[in-house]
Amino acid sequence: MINNKYVFELDVKFNTDELIKIVNNRKVSGLRSHQQNAADYEYTNYLYNKHHKILGKIWNYYHLTPHTGFRKHIDARRPTALNIPLYGHEGSTTKFYEMPADGLEYNDRMVAYDINKDVQETFSFTLTNPSIINVSEPHSVESGPQDRLILSWGIVVGFEEAKQYIKEHGIN
């Protein structure tokens, strides 16, 4: 299991069938197109109520078609995320990079800081297990040969605090 400054893989199971069903039958949330309110669904509401000390009220879903991705960025409104792969993770890659000294550019549509300069890659992995991701570090995502869907739930505390919480309380 990966446990470094970017990724903390979890040895836990979520009900991914239920999460896929929720995403496929999502409501009009009034939020950004990739966002949903945890309270609007029984299962995510259950998880939120159980772990409200670290989980945000909103979760995101990210659907990537084959061989597409998100460029290098830092999430702008959440320091940490619980990422749950739902399908299509084979061949996908999440890369992390060194933090640039400057050059972060806010991208309102993505709610992220874009990194428009060359930075050294420092770590890469394939999201195959639910993981805590340090989205305060520069990262990018590329899908593999299939459609890829993940649920990405914002965590309202820093990466190290989130790890500590989960070690003490679990997360599912």
Partner: protein
């Protein structure tokens, strides 16, 4: 002016030693949300910092006017988190607009000292005016901006490796 903070691990209090004769205790509010921020007492000379800012060359960056080439020997000589100021990132700036909601991308927040005017921090469920020295949790979503035309602050950035709970205990 030279002010030293000695932070003692495992203790909540802060011992202040300074060359100035007087120590002003700032009244603490009855309630504060320490998930978001924590005020603390610290003696420093706003006027010295204000004069440094006014005599500095400034660089505009987003909603800030940053003072360049701060004279380290005239800044509060603080031992924060058992590190000297020159081992930490710090800045003095005038803020001229709201930052917009965000989490801090390169650090875990700010230890902020008001210099002139008051910076107002708004979190999702709380608002606080930084009218005293204050430590702000940058990993909680927040926005901040000026409350008057000439709002200037000095801030030390909380290193990204430092957990919030440790930061407020060490300060």
């Amino acid at each position: 002016m030279c002010i030293n903070i000695t932070a003692v691990r495992g203790r909540e209090d802060i011992r202040l030693r300074e060359t100035q004769e007087t120590e002003v205790r700032i009244p603490q509010p009855l309630q504060e949300n320490i998930m978001y921020y924590k005020r603390f007492s610290f003696n420093y000379d706003k006027e010295v910092l204000f004069n440094i800012f006014k005599s500095s060359e400034l660089t505009r960056k987003q909603v800030y006017l940053h003072a360049n080439n701060l004279p380290l020997d005239q800044l509060p000589c603080m031992n924060v988190f058992n590190r000297q100021l020159n081992d930490l990132e710090y800045s003095m700036a005038k803020i001229v607009g709201d930052t917009g909601f965000h989490v801090s991308p390169r650090n875990n927040g700010l230890i902020l000292f008001p210099v002139n005017g008051i910076v107002r921090f708004t979190f999702l469920e709380d608002t606080v005016d930084a009218d005293t020295p204050i430590i702000i949790n940058g990993k909680q979503q927040h926005t901040y901006g000026p409350t008057c035309d000439d709002t200037i602050f000095f801030a030390i950035k909380i290193p990204s490796y430092m957990m919030w709970a440790d930061a407020i205990n060490l300060l």
